[in-house]
Amino acid sequence: MGKKNANVRMSLQTLRVLEAFLENPTEQLAGADVHQRCGIASGTLYPILLRLESAGWFVSQWESVDPSTAGRPRRRLYRLTSTGLRRASEVFASFNRGVLA
């Protein structure tokens, strides 16, 4: 994405995506995996993933497999950054306290 945009719109779908990653913060998830966990449609999911990556909350990389050997295209895997992990934790903590900011 190149540009870093920390201004993330916290929609309900964004929270559900973050929740899916917070279950195991070190795990790398593809878009299809996130869809299976939180059930968000692709039209909403991929823009959220790109926004969070642009904000520096996520980093993404290609799956390290050979498509010809695997018999399928490479998947794009997303992972929480340290910044993203802290910010996501703060967001959910604020909700648990009942205070938004």
Partner: protein, 304 residues
């Protein structure tokens, strides 16, 4: 055969799905186009059913629109540190509602379709009503209750309606006998205020009636002038009712119908009427004498 057709349909849907994803990726920003294409095609492999793959592809088209929209906005400068990033995240910009831009657009499109559908339905139904004649149906109407008339005064009862048809008669002026000073006032039924204004009916037979009266040989009034009345100077006219047969004879005893004001003069008039029996001129209808009753005025007047 059916399996072949199913496979063919599956292949067609698969082709459409791939075409949608490639089309969506091409419309994405150039820096993301190839990445999104490979990413979406890889994630597409995780979908098993054709319908799920189609939904995924359509969602990718929508995602492209959102991503392009996000890229067109002026980007916020990147945070230099974690603290700066914390300040830059504006919670006031949070949208916790269930209606995102996508959902709102879907609702708007659905609303427009519903409005268009409703408009078509109402317009077509109106047009059909104009183009085709309405069905002819018999409707049983409830009988209309009779209109209530105002209450009649107590004691008054209407038993029915009758229409009186006046018999058209020719009003014959009464014949005046000047010599005997006795005048006939004609039949009681003769004066008919409604007979004159009615136009004559040509085809109807009109009975030509001539009222009777004193005839030849009728007694002189002076012979029956009461002597006491002459002495007292009483004058006046008494009207008696006489019934006469075709021969001029009385059918019944005459009666006083209008007094002269003097019992003596009334009695003298009755005697005169009785004495004139056989000398009355009978009433004729179409020239034929008939039984009739009519008033007869008898005036007693002293000669000066």
């Amino acid at each position: 055969m059916s399996q072949r057709k199913g496979r063919s349909m599956h292949a067609d849907l698969n082709g459409v799905t791939h075409w949608l994803i490639l089309h969506a990726a091409r419309r994405a920003p150039e820096s993301l186009s190839s990445r999104l294409q490979e990413e979406w095609l890889a994630d597409l492999e995780s979908r098993s059913s054709a319908l799920s793959r189609l939904r995924f592809a359509v969602g990718c088209c929508w995602a492209t629109l959102v991503i392009v929209s996000d890229y067109s906005r002026s980007p916020v400068p990147a945070a230099s540190s974690a603290a700066a990033a914390t300040r830059l995240i504006t919670f006031s910009d949070r949208n916790f509602g269930y209606f995102s831009v996508r959902s709102g657009t879907v609702f708007i499109v659905a609303g427009l379709h519903a409005a268009l559908f409703y408009g078509l339905i109402t317009t077509l139904s109106h047009t059909r009503g104009l183009a085709t004649p309405p069905n002819l149906e018999n409707h049983m109407l409830d009988p209309v209750p009779p209109e209530k008339l105002p209450a009649l005064p107590p004691g008054l009862e209407i038993k029915g309606w009758t229409i009186d048809v006046q018999k058209l008669v020719v009003d014959v002026p009464p014949k005046v006998d000047i010599e005997n000073d006795v005048t006939t006032q004609g039949d009681e039924k003769t004066p008919n205020p409604y007979s004159s204004p009615l136009p004559p009916e040509a085809p109807t037979h009109v009975v030509r009636q001539i009222a009777g009266g004193p005839g030849a040989g009728f007694p002189d009034t002076a012979d029956f002038y009461p002597s006491l009345s002459i002495h007292l100077g009483e004058e006046g006219m008494s009207t008696v009712r006489v019934c006469v047969d075709p021969k001029g004879k009385l059918l019944s005893d005459p009666t006083t119908v209008k007094s002269s004001g003097s019992a003596r003069l009334d009695e003298g008039a009755l005697k005169l009427a009785r004495a004139g029996s056989g000398h009355y001129r009978a009433t004729t209808e179409d020239g034929q004498p008939v039984n009739s009753c009519y008033p007869l005025g008898i005036r007693f007047r002293l000669k000066s």
